[in-house]
Symmetry: C3
Subunit: 315 residues, 3 copies
């Protein structure tokens, strides 16, 4: 069940095991060199369609530049929901079937519904599908780049303590990160969220099954001094959440000066971005603020994944 | 009047004659090989602008991938109506003049108004114009790929019987297909539509002038057993039509199990897509369902047209 | 203060001096040849992001085709305001930081706020920023192509008389053009606008400081016979202006037959486009109508700027 997809597709963080992640991270390091050299031609005549039902310029650009650094060509829409609009009313399956008829090598899909990426795989024929975020469920490439970032910053996952903060109930990034952490031996995960936005039961069960300890709290101050990684998230208002992490009646969720004071000297602060008020701008100056380095790693990880999907034999 | 444009531009299905169509179909078969090989460089340093005043990711992508398989470069907007928005208020002619000043080799235009593509040609200078659907009038490249599909599936047009079904009054695809069928000797065309959405008088006159027999009915069951091609269409709600083909009070327009039962063994079902409820998903399993193969032919036909427009001398 | 940016960035028309403008114009003439030859590879493996917070297909395409003629690769969004949307709420600085982490060579930014391009420069690291219009403030590349157009059409700036007409208070193009004219020795600038839309005080001060004479009037007929360049503009309704230049109660601002009659034989009519009713279509036939030639010059100037920014050493 765990490795149920090979790398023709990237659908679910659970499909990765530690060996595969290590190979991806090795590739990603090679990719940094390729970027420094201005790119290569490994994916010449390979074509990617960016099919975004939800706009996400950030994620879209990171995939598109990744494709370009490898020599591939990109086609994109920010407007894919037009396919399924009330007037035109096409199913996702029909849209994917038609696009795959144009023989792209890979479709990168961002979709508002749970299960969308898996439905796409079922009708995609020879075209690879990469899940760039679907519903409240998964964002596997984000999780891979997050784990890569922890390795680059701290050298390991095993034995580290994590705090995951914010709108945990609606965050597909948190889900996917927990799925990957379950493959390693972290010391503990502290979930810090308002009571109304606690991490999903399914994630807790998964962690238990994988022998990963966790706790839940509403006050980041309780755990800030104990963790190596603070993973902050944004309230997903576009997915129905309507609280602010700055609302002190709900608890303490903001990475503010008090938290910086409490944190270990070598801990890091991560965030999938965009951030709103859950990390004030003054934190950027602290060298433990890793979120912009984390974002930059997205390019390398997506290059590595695209290369492994589309040119697996090239070393 | 009939062949009033050469191939510098593709504006109107009537501009094609049987000889030209045959050359396009021959090219399209070559294009299938080029796609299998991953592309070629015939159109290197040729540039296409996709200028879509109505979003149509499907048609846009088929042109853009077509250009790419031939080595050309693509620039696109899904947002062209911004040119003519209430605040900015520019005429189509001015927009085309400015864009042609940037010296693209071809502009592919989708526009909501009748006559838009012809207006573009008048001011486009050395830039070729390709009509990717305008108003309720014409969608010539769709018609060429449709006729190509009938040839691939059934080997000929002459002597075949067609049923054209649905919102015939608003379908530019039906118009363009009738214009092309008038160049051949089909046995008969049965128009099957609600009384409120019958095929336009101008089309019937055209067919009479070209000696193509036709009939009109509101019940697909009457003709389903006699035809070789069922050409189904969608109700064009975005162009003002407000009935459902599933509404049995208007007639029988859905390709359902009863129709499948009636159909000839070697007949085919076509649809320009997207489809809504006028063809239920279970029909996809029937090998006579040709609509996804038809959509895939769009790539080859658009490659053939772009090559003939932009690199006519290359064999 | 005047040349406060080198050419790594293009932010403010004031950064250009006469020598630099001359070099840009020389490059632009070379660019015309490159376009005639179908392009070159000078910017191969260079990557541009078009980041448009306000849609502007015209300006965006001119930058994108410019990049393409030089062999570079383009990534684009027409939807950048999604970054700063109410739900996601990211600062411009964060957006630029993340995008620069993907290592594009240049970001071309169009933004609704004054100061946006300068804010981008502050966090862009090694990535060059080009201001493609911000707020009511500046549109420097438009001004460079406008001055280039005057040189091509009339051979010089020094000693020429200009009329600038329309919504001068809201026009960033007028600002940037005045900044450049201040570097030369024009005879005089006549500002012709409704009383509610007069040129900004800061611009008048700038011209005084640079010893450029100017006058203000509400009637183009008073100055039409005296000027070499009529620079017409559009009412910026999207930036809050709500008058029509055709409203005769406000004055005479339309370039109509009466104005054509008054104008010098060798004068030219310019407009940054799009135009609405401030220049009727019949003016297009007059050979003094230079606005479409002006628009076409945008390609060459943007090519010249991109080359000087991204490949300064290549001759």
């Amino acid at each position: 069940m765990e490795s149920y997809y090979g790398l023709p597709h990237v659908i679910d963080a659970r499909q990765f095991d530690v060996d595969l992640l290590e190979r991806i991270f090795d590739e990603a390091k090679e990719m940094e060199k390729i970027v420094d050299e201005g790119g290569c031609d490994i994916l010449q005549r390979k074509r990617m369609i960016s099919l975004f039902y939800e706009p996400s310029t950030r994620t879209r650009f990171s995939f598109e530049l990744a494709m370009s650094y490898l020599g591939g060509t990109v086609f994109q829409t920010e407007n894919a929901k037009e396919f399924s609009s009330a007037v035109k009313g096409e199913t996702l399956e029909d849209s994917i079937r038609v696009l795959c008829g144009y023989k792209p090598n890979v479709i990168v899909i961002r979709h508002g519904e749970d299960g969308a990426a898996e439905r796409a795989v079922r009708v995609s024929g020879k075209t690879s599908i990469v899940n760039a975020g679907n519903g409240k469920e998964q964002h596997p490439t984000q999780a891979v780049l997050d784990i890569f970032t922890v390795f680059k910053e701290l050298g390991r996952i095993d034995g580290l303590s994590f705090a995951m903060i914010g709108d945990l109930a609606s965050s597909r990034v948190i889900n996917s990160n927990c799925y990957l952490l379950g493959k390693y031996r972290p010391e503990v995960i502290h979930f810090v969220s308002p009571k109304c936005a606690q991490v999903k039961p399914g994630i807790k069960e998964y962690l238990q099954r994988h022998s990963v300890r966790f706790s839940e709290t509403t006050d980041l101050r309780e755990v800030a001094s104990k963790v190596d990684v603070i993973y902050q998230t944004r309230t997903q208002k576009e997915r129905g959440s309507n609280f602010s992490c700055a609302d002190r009646r709900l608890g303490h969720f903001v990475v503010d000066r008090e938290i910086l004071q409490l944190m270990k000297k070598n801990a890091i602060i991560m965030h999938p971005l965009p951030r709103v008020d859950e990390i004030p701008a003054y934190v950027d100056e602290d060298r433990r603020a890793a979120y912009f380095r984390q974002a930059a790693n997205g390019l390398f990880i997506r290059m590595a994944l695209l290369k492994m999907i589309l040119a697996p034999s090239k070393s």
